[in-house]
């Protein structure tokens, strides 16, 4: 059996916080916000909305794109580091709210901006191991709940969103071919949260500049592929500066390594599935690289192929 991603539902809250209204607070200008940060406004959930609410909306959107046999779902995984409560895990609450069956395993993954690619690797591995036919991989990490609005490094960057990826073992979709993942030793302090998120932006970007291109090259080498064999590289859009560094290092243009977040922000583990969802269709045999990186400092780079 070959598990494949057959559809992605998304939810980006319509409410927006404008970065241009806050330039004076941080001594920044519009050019910096648009041309370097790459975030003009941030999507923000409604007060009182939580991870479960956001994920339910993403699942509802998924069901409008593709027949979703909820009664047959055998695995539900939620990627989040900001669950609504510590116990139970978000996947259990969502299992209740979606009315899933007793045969459906549920678990959460605590991962940040590399969460989707970590989740994809794990869910596909479990589907293969146990011969599962239907699985849901959800991402939802509303950073608006942990960002300090006065923090210059993070206040203008993150947006809220959720996604719902449906995997099954038949029909056209994207099959996972390989993943390169790791964690750079001695870098766990680059992103931390006790009361509020604290980010050493310099360290995050330096780690990304060192590790992500190397990860992409390892993956391609292992698969006997060249960069030209890949139609699109979907890197986690941490900021436009990071994307530009990756494009420059790997000699990719904006068409092959897009950056879409200008009007909703860095949505952490939802960023890659949001980008993939908006360019889901592809000819059979097309190959894409997805690379998430951040908290840890960790990364996971996946090769997917249209089947």
């Amino acid at each position: 059996m070959t598990p494949r991603l057959v559809g992605i539902g998304t939810h980006v809250p319509p409410r927006r916080d404008a970065n241009l209204d806050r330039l004076d607070d941080f001594g920044l200008d519009e050019a910096f916000v648009v041309e370097k940060l790459g975030v003009r406004q941030r999507a923000r959930k409604e007060d009182g909305e939580g991870v479960v609410d956001l994920c339910l909306k993403a699942v509802a959107d998924m069901a409008t794109r593709q027949a979703l046999p909820l009664a047959q779902v055998e695995l539900l995984c939620v990627v989040t580091q900001n669950p609504d409560r510590r116990i139970p895990h978000a996947a259990a609450t969502l299992h209740d709210r979606l009315g899933l069956g007793g045969h459906c395993m549920t678990f959460d993954i605590s991962q940040g901006c590399a969460g989707f690619t970590h989740g994809l690797e794990i869910v596909v591995a479990v589907m293969r191991q146990r011969g599962l036919h239907h699985a849901l991989l959800l991402t939802g990490d509303p950073y608006s709940t942990i960002v300090d609005p006065a923090d210059r490094n993070t206040a203008l960057l993150f947006g809220d969103a959720a996604t719902a990826s449906y995997l099954c073992d038949e029909g056209p979709g994207w099959a996972l071919r390989d993943t390169d993942a790791g964690t750079r030793p001695g870098t766990s302090a680059c992103l931390q949260c006790d009361d509020h998120l604290r980010m050493d932006g310099r360290a995050v970007l330096m780690n990304a500049a060192h590790e992500v291109p190397a990860s992409v090259e390892r993956l391609l080498r292992r698969q006997g592929l060249a960069r030209d064999d890949i139609d699109t590289f979907l890197f986690h859009p941490g900021s436009l500066r990071i994307l530009e560094l990756l494009r420059s290092t790997l000699n990719l243009d904006a068409a092959r390594a897009p950056f879409d977040i200008l009007d909703y922000g860095n949505t952490v583990s939802s960023s890659i599935p949001l980008m993939l969802s908006s360019r889901f269709a592809a000819r059979p045999g097309a190959k894409r690289v997805l690379s998430g990186f951040g908290v840890g400092f960790s990364w996971a780079t996946s090769l997917i192929e249209s089947i």
Partner: protein, 81 residues
């Protein structure tokens, strides 16, 4: 070889860092001169490329001013002799 001020100003230009009115001071933290952490990282990455050095993660935070960076690069040059 001693790292020149021109070398470092060239790096800042390549990194597209906005120059403050009156130009950069070499003895003052770049952050205090308005350089955002995102730009600082690009500056350090451009330094790695231009001078063919690797800046260890544990000293990234200590490279605050252009003088700090020049001292680091001069130390690397001495170590490589």
């Amino acid at each position: 070889m001693t790292t020149t001020q021109e070398d470092l100003l060239d790096v800042l230009k390549r990194a597209r860092v906005q120059t403050p009115p009156g130009g950069f001071r070499f003895d003052q933290s770049l952050t205090d001169q308005g350089v955002h952490s995102l730009d600082m990282a690009v500056v350090l990455f451009e330094i790695e490329k231009k001078f063919d050095v690797t800046i260890p993660t544990d000293i990234v935070a200590s490279l605050r001013s252009l003088d700090d960076i020049a001292r680091f690069l001069d130390g690397q040059a001495v170590a490589n002799r």
